[in-house]
């Protein structure tokens, strides 16, 4: 990969007791922020999530000083933003918004080169950079460079918006619901592409969304905010799901947070169950003996490359002769190590034999995964029993109140139930 990856990576971002109070509560006034402190390490994605009016967008805009805080400090790489020239500050921070805000009167190439142009780069270098970035976000420069924004689809415009924000290779990016205006299928694709991009770019990203699923998917860290601009919890997504810090967080995350948590773990996180295998042509009697020593009631028949062919039930294995392919009765879904536990579980529920066969890149068997193993993994990471109660309560609350303005009342911290 040439280009951005070689350049500066992210800077740290610190919120130090940041507040924004408004005198008026007129309609359309952005959400206030109250005594917000958190630290985002360089190169991480921090997602600010919460109901509308919780101050997440206000917090984001205070970083590039589109909104000035009324209290506290925001530090980029340890330097207080309040002391910096606001124009120079903004040119050094990538900014992506939901409505994209492309300049309708400029071509895609000119749009992408906006900040380099403001910084006075030579024209040739601006052009080169624009092409490089269009390629990076998956748009062929030859086809898109000279078009106008209105000639692009919503998803294409969002990509251009990301390319434009990356143009001057800023260490920090602010993204305000960047994928909120496109349909779910395109959103999913843009999210995945962006995560892949981020692996190379390693920018420090503040990302605003109201969608908890997007927060869990995109965030290395998630800041759950509550109306009035209070920070309810600041933690990695797994921790938010496993141990919500308050009733509000539990409710916001949703009653299905157990299932959501499954999408954070992958098969590679599990210790696989060894599979008892036998090759085609092996002696049946020997295979039968080996399979009997294992409690799993099936033998997995494999080929020369240890690629699975199918299951043979233990009591169906002949007592003499050799194993043949035709003995295999059924097959299980093949799962690779990158599959999320949520997807793995879903595949298992459809299968005849309740075990998924985990294979490596060549298709060779690595081991088995069962629903029990996934459930066990959930119990290990779930923390303690008290959250079972929260889940029940969350279901009731979700049904009755469905995240209305009742969220305005500060949530009480959950007391651990006596065990």
């Amino acid at each position: 990969m040439n280009g951005p990856a070689k350049h500066a990576t992210g800077a740290t971002v610190d919120f130090d007791r940041v507040s924004k109070q408004y005198d008026t509560r007129a309609r359309g006034t952005p959400g206030a922020v109250n005594d917000l402190s958190f630290h985002v390490p360089a190169g991480k994605i921090c997602v600010l999530v919460g109901p509308s009016g919780c101050g997440k967008t206000t917090s984001l805009k205070m970083v590039n000083r589109l909104i000035e805080p009324t209290g506290g400090r925001i530090l980029l790489d340890g330097v207080d933003t309040a002391g910096r020239d606001v124009t120079e500050l903004r040119r050094g921070i990538g900014y992506v918004i939901q409505q994209v805000g492309l300049f309708p009167h400029q071509t895609i190439g000119q749009n992408v080169a906006t900040v380099p142009r403001l910084l006075g780069w030579p024209a040739a270098r601006q052009r080169e950079r624009a092409e490089e970035l269009l390629t990076l976000v998956g748009l062929d420069p030859a086809r898109y460079r000279d078009r106008y924004p209105r000639q692009l689809s919503g998803g294409e415009r969002q990509r251009v918006g990301v390319a434009r924000a990356l143009a001057a290779d800023p260490p920090v990016m602010l993204m305000d619901e960047p994928f909120g205006a496109v349909d779910p299928i395109v959103r999913e694709r843009l999210q995945n592409e962006f995560l892949r991009l981020q692996e190379e770019l390693a920018k420090t990203i503040l990302f605003v969304t109201h969608d908890i699923d997007e927060a869990i998917k995109m965030g290395d860290l998630v800041a759950v905010m509550q109306l009035g601009g209070h920070l309810e919890q600041f933690a990695p997504p797994a921790e938010i799901l496993a141990t919500p810090a308050s009733e509000f967080v539990a409710r916001f995350v949703g009653a299905d947070r157990g299932l959501k948590r499954l999408s954070l773990s992958r098969v590679s996180d599990l210790e696989l169950r060894p599979a008892v295998t036998a090759r085609v042509g092996d002696a049946s009697v020997e295979a039968r003996r080996r399979s009997a020593t294992d409690p799993f009631p099936y033998l997995l028949l494999v080929d020369e490359g240890r690629r699975p062919i199918g299951w043979i039930a233990d009591d169906e294995i002949p007592t003499e002769g050799r194993l043949t392919e035709r003995m295999a009765e059924s097959m299980s879904p093949l799962i690779n190590r990158r599959t999320t536990l949520k997807d793995a579980l879903s595949m298992l529920l459809d299968a005849d034999v309740q075990a998924g066969i985990v294979v490596d890149r060549t298709g060779a068997v690595l081991g088995l995964v069962t629903a029990d193993m996934i459930a066990e993994r959930m119990r290990e990471t779930a923390g303690d029993a008290r959250f079972a109660a929260v889940d029940l309560e969350a279901i009731e609350l979700a049904e009755s109140t469905a995240m209305r303005a009742t969220a305005a009342t500060p949530a009480e911290p959950i007391e651990p139930a006596p065990t």
Partner: protein, 221 residues
């Protein structure tokens, strides 16, 4: 009906009056636009000013043109100024409104993106708000020019030194001479049509981005 012999004898005069007509109209529109632009830039930043300026411009527009020319004669005499002041004033009501609307045409997300990327106020005005104001500004210029070309004929009441093609209309009416009236009226109408088309052409030239897409927008994400 038309005395072609008279027309042939007076071609040089028709040419002179046509040029004069265009000059009087262009001068009024140019000055009117310059004033509207300055007022408009102030108006988009300061709402009370916008309301006041728009109201005054609207009020001026209600004054009958003949009365306004007459009212100015004691002050500025029968000079070109007496012709131009009302012409300019009448352009203001159209141009000011369109300049203001044009400068407000940049969508909020575009402004926010510009601010977020580090445009200074002047840079944003010049590189973002002005280009996006062009369609409405040119539309305003088009209407103002067409209406001014019509109004210039009335300046003939201020004497033979003024009036453009209106000179023929005015003189023809005094002499009950239909040919001369038509020699004034028809070229005036042609000038208006020509100006109208010219601005349509200009609009398409300077705002290619606002034209209907020549490339099919592709449905791929």
């Amino acid at each position: 009906m038309i005395d072609w012999g008279w027309v042939a004898d007076h071609l040089d005069k028709v040419a002179f009056r046509t040029v004069q007509h265009l000059y009087l109209a262009a001068l009024a529109v140019a000055v009117g636009f310059a004033i509207s632009f300055v007022l408009g830039v102030i108006a988009v930043r300061w709402r009370p000013f916008n309301l006041a300026a728009t109201a005054i411009a609207g009020l001026v527009f209600t004054i009958p043109s003949l009365a306004l020319f007459a009212a100015l004669v004691p002050i500025t005499g029968l000079s070109i100024l007496t012709a131009e002041v009302p012409l300019v004033l009448y352009t203001l009501v159209i141009l000011l409104r369109n300049v203001v609307a044009g400068l407000q045409a940049a969508p909020p997300d575009v402004r926010e993106a510009a601010d977020g990327m580090g445009f200074r106020a002047a840079g944003r005005l010049w590189s973002v708000e002005l280009p996006l104001a062009l369609p409405l500004m040119i539309a305003g210029l088009r209407i103002a020019t067409v209406s001014t070309i019509g109004l210039v004929t009335i300046t003939a009441v201020l004497g033979q030194a003024l009036g453009g093609l209106g000179f023929f209309i005015y003189e023809g009416m005094n002499r009950y001479f239909a040919t001369e009236i038509l020699v004034g009226a028809i070229p005036t109408i042609l000038l208006s049509l020509l100006a109208d088309r010219a601005f349509v052409w200009l609009q398409a030239r300077v705002t290619p981005w606002a034209q209907r897409s020549r490339l099919p927008a592709e449905a791929t994400a």
